[in-house]
């Protein structure tokens, strides 16, 4: 589940000439980071991005005083992290760009699609609408933290078993949300699951299979 499935571009694809012009044809994620090192970063302000990106943006000036960074201690998937973050950084961006936990996905970035769903102190939230600095001391579980070593979480296994995805982009959010949905006791009927999973959009339309996966995992995780 935590694979590099958010790299939709085949670097050999003909259509990447536009990216090649910029000299960074590798992957979308790298592309974004590299763009941060170009003139776009002047407008963006460098401190929003990870340390790696900061290096690349080092030659630019922010133009205005960026927010002072704030220290925050997060416990993510059982491991403690002391971070220095710009207060504007969302939990999602801190996870992805600073900690390289890229399982949680950025879909809409406005709390509408659920791809960024993580568990904070056991409760599901949209990490794209939550500032990292507000999570001092919180315990955060991402898709990377659900498996027990090599043994997948029953919800992960059920998604594979029932083909609960096509492109896979919404899947980490769907699975985190589904784990919480079952734990909350909101998975008692098909209609109840549909309603309580409505915050996770799947553009491939894998809903019937997601429903089947949750029903199977429900009995194993309850």
């Amino acid at each position: 589940m935590a694979s590099e499935s958010d790299v939709p571009f085949d670097s050999e694809a003909d259509g990447l000439s536009e990216l090649s012009i910029l000299g960074y044809p590798e992957t979308r994620r790298k592309f974004i980071k590299q763009v941060a090192g170009t003139s776009a970063a002047i407008a963006i302000g460098p401190n929003l991005l990870s340390a790696a990106s900061l290096d690349q943006a080092g030659a630019t000036s922010a133009g205005d005083a960026a927010s002072d960074s704030v220290k925050v201690n997060l416990k993510i998937n059982g491991k403690g992290y002391a971070l220095d973050v710009d207060p504007r950084v969302t939990l999602l961006d801190a996870l992805r760009e600073q900690l390289h936990l890229t399982g949680s996905k950025k879909g809409c970035d406005h709390g509408q699609c659920g791809a960024c769903t993580v568990l904070v102190n056991g409760r599901r939230i949209n990490s794209c609408l939550s500032l990292a600095v507000t999570h001092e001391g919180d315990e955060i579980t991402t898709i990377e933290g659900l498996a027990n070593g090599d043994e997948l979480h029953p919800m992960q296994s059920a998604f594979i078993e029932h083909d609960g995805f096509q492109c896979g982009y919404c899947t980490p959010g769907q699975i985190c949300s589904a784990v919480a949905c079952v734990k909350e006791g909101h998975a008692n009927s098909d209609d109840e699951i549909r309603e309580w999973m409505s915050g996770n959009i799947c553009r491939c339309g894998a809903y019937p299979n997601i429903l089947a996966a949750i029903k199977e995992a429900r009995s194993k995780t309850a």
Partner: protein, 353 residues
Amino acid sequence: MLSGLAAQTASLCSIAALCEIFMNPFTYSRATDVDQAVAEVSGKPHGKFLGGGTNLIDLMKMGVETPEALIDINRLPLAQIEELPGGKGMRIGAMMRNSDLAEHDLIKSRYPVLSEALLSGASPQLRNMATVGGNLLQRTRCYYFYDPAFPACNKRKPGSGCGAIEGFNRIHAILGQSEQCIATHPSDMCVALAALDAIVRVRGPKGEREIPMTDFHRLPGDTPERDTNLQPDELIIAVDLPAMPFATRSHYLKVRDRASYAFALVSVAAALDLDSNKTIKAARVALGGVAHKPWRAEKVEKELAGKQADERTFRVAAEAELAAAKGYKHNSFKIELAKRAIVRALSSVAAME
């Protein structure tokens, strides 16, 4: 394999996505008690309190909200619910999350309309984040307000005009609007609170005051930039629900474009006090999706008092409330929809045991 155009579009989208994440710089501080939070915001004219952030952070990403300071109130001890002494009702802490309030046993049993309204809003994830105080301060979802690329919006930029009046106004107001603004208030919770005679308790530098729910939000008039009567240096600390025994017979009906996870086109919060012959002793009704504030349907309530609880009575009352309604090019359907929603909601409540 992507076509060249698709790749170009994707790369532009990546840049757009990046640009979206930057907000204006702000200072961040964590408040540990209410007085400190109030003191902190008092000295900062462009400071804002940060609760669940589900609306504020979104608006900051859009560039609609540009606070210079955020005071994080997530650690304030305001997340509890308690019974008021003498059976006078309940006090809900402003930092209680929407999901916790919706699932609270006493709310479900005594004020089902409030629980239903909360559960009809947003998604489980957003309800886990969103607070009661923040829900009161939600801003409109009017497209022209939410996107600064639209030049005209009197709410966002006073004096710039209203893009909605002559524009795409399907989700807009039919009651209480002005020449300046036809935006609607998006909250479901607030509609239930308006019907339940809730009182908003706020604290400012000069102490506490109470604002009745029906006076908390404003009609647009000539100052659509002001959504509420809360002062910038005041913090919502609680919402009081007065005792209303007949609210056990109450219901929230939400009509929307999707079955779930959509804002209301029209919604109705209704409670009926019926005697054994189904004569209406008292009614509490409020409408959502129709006005700049949760619309307490006083004409409906007046019309229903003393009448038999049947569909004909409900229809007459609904006609009275909507008599002054005004529709625009794309939202005139809301007038008949609101009438039918009132009848259906009241019929459901009357049929409750």
